[in-house]
Symmetry: C2
Subunit: 185 residues, 2 copies
Amino acid sequence: MAKSNKTEYALLVILSIEPMSCYDIRSYVQQSIGFFWQESYGQIYPALRQLTASKLVAKRKAQTSRGPARYVYSITKAGRRKFANWLAAEPEPEKVRNELLLKLYFGTMGNPTDHIRHLESLLASQNDRLKQFAQIEKHVLRQYEGVPDYPYWRSTLRFGQHVTRARVRWCQETLEWLKNGNNKK
Amino acid sequence: MAKSNKTEYALLVILSIEPMSCYDIRSYVQQSIGFFWQESYGQIYPALRQLTASKLVAKRKAQTSRGPARYVYSITKAGRRKFANWLAAEPEPEKVRNELLLKLYFGTMGNPTDHIRHLESLLASQNDRLKQFAQIEKHVLRQYEGVPDYPYWRSTLRFGQHVTRARVRWCQETLEWLKNGNNKK
DNA sequence: GCCAACTATATCGTCCAGATATATTGTCCA
DNA sequence: TGGACAATATATCTGGACGATATAGTTGGC
């Protein structure tokens, strides 16, 4: 089976909200779905070119008073049909490559203090993330209560919270072993 | 900063256990660290060629009675020095691309029954994984109690358990909302 | 005796991420 | 007033990672 370009589908759903420039798309991704989905310009530009060639999106020049020429992309009817099929199809499983776990698995070849440092760094980043989630929950999401999208947005946020809390607990447990349990027995 | 080839480092640590063929390496990865690290032949072959060229691993032909010629790779002293530095360096954060969450975020554009199907499929796979973890804990890991590697191996397993349980709970919670809560209010 | 499954090697296309290049405008502050 | 810097906005290149595919001998079951 041919490899499917996930970036193209992601761009189609995003452009179905409203027409955007490449820069807008990138900013939107980072702000709203950044914690579970990433796109870089290196993917967006070729994908938009491809989508334009297949008539799934339309490109038009927007007038700007400042900066370089601004090109805005909008989804076509054919584009909407295309992503409807994709939405219904079974999502592919995530592929994980966790460098921290790799280093920990071969832990005896390294230094315990290094592992502790790495774990504390991860713990800090995960706690930061939890704070961000709480902020979004309180100050962003709440505004949209009643909107049809609201429960869907909330459920993705809750995924992040569940998994992040699990990582935090694991960090704490593992740090405790590395710092104390290591000496005993 | 130049991009670092993670596959090469992974191969170095793996080959530091014992000399292996490309096929052995792939099997080893799948069996032991497969739930947090993946390698395909498309990465392993070029990486081994590169490592051989840099004298970090040595390639030699092993005698075989059957099948195609078998080439076994072993780590050199230079190779051991190289991966020691990498072990101590801060691991790069995981990059996630969760297609299920992407579809759920734009859930109002799709069909609730599709979301339910996708979530049930994820829930089943995560429950399977939990069973596998329990098997490994009971029948594999227990044999190595007392070995220095044991607590490190156990901690990576516990990471999987924590995070997988979090996903299971989220699936259940989200399914409940989609099946029941959706009708009310 | 043939087909399927396993062992084992290897390459190709393409997706994806990050670094980099270029250019304009607004803002801070010395 | 001038310079540094951040933000807006476009776009490309390199190389790492993934999945499909090709090839071929061995083993075991029907």
